[in-house]
Amino acid sequence: MNFAAVLFYAFSAIAIVAALGTVLARNIVYAALSLVGTMVMIAGIFFILHADFLALVQLLIYAGAVGVLLIFGLMLTNTGQPATGPKDRWQRPIAFVAAMAFILVAGYAAVSTDWMQGVVPQLERVPPAVLASSLFRNWALPFEIASLVLLVAMIGAIVISRRETSND
């Protein structure tokens, strides 16, 4: 086991613990902070997997923008009122069963599958220039569509949440 592998298992373990924090923490702000932690760990995993650019994007967008956005949203919507009782007492047990079933089945499938049927892994670092050229040549169309998605999201967010003037 080399250094990269050690780092990978460490990051993974922390990511999983933080993820559990995200979904289990009673205090919603802690949950959000745990989520940011998970994202940072995942960025680390990306880095180990030779996806440097993605690791950077992950840090910038998630740990930076999305994390802040979420915490900002939580602050705005936090009334401090105690939550009302659940309408469905079975919600958590069902969620637990469903999630465990998923992890066990998909995990077993992942472990039992021979992924590399005749494929020799390349495991080479992709230079950002290659990535960029691929993005703007081969994937120019999804890129354009993604820009439309962002445009729609932006306009939508404005339409839905802007405060109106009195005569509006």
């Binding site: 979904v23 998630y62 969620a95 469903a98 472990v111 390349q122 290659v130």
Partner: protein
């Protein structure tokens, strides 16, 4: 140097994170917390894409490109989701999905 990490271990981590996110969506009652759990799921998917891209795909860029798009969409989803949740909060002073049951049956 990553030869020491078997692909199935990476997939296992992604699956576990995805499952945890799934649990979050199914068990959380705060709308923002549910959005957070969905982010978790999407990130797990990204780990998968990058790992597969590295290990099995003939073109190592594909998975990374997909991950870029997924991150984009996920961020936009959070922004739009928060806008809607905020609007609900303004109307109801509450973002508990238990109370989103005007529409049912």
């Amino acid at each position: 140097m990553i030869e020491a990490i078997p692909l199935d271990h990476v997939v296992l981590v992604a699956t576990t994170l995805f499952g945890i996110g799934l649990y979050g969506v199914l068990s959380r009652r705060n709308a923002v917390a549910i959005l957070m759990a969905i982010e978790l799921m999407l990130n797990a998917v990204n780990i998968n894409f990058i790992a597969f891209s590295m290990y099995v795909s003939p073109d190592p860029t594909v998975g990374q490109i997909i991950a870029v798009f997924v991150i984009t969409v996920a961020a936009a989803e959070v922004a739009l989701g928060l806008a809607i949740v905020l609007q609900i909060f303004r109307n109801k002073s509450n973002i508990n999905v238990d109370d989103l049951d005007l529409l049912r049956w």
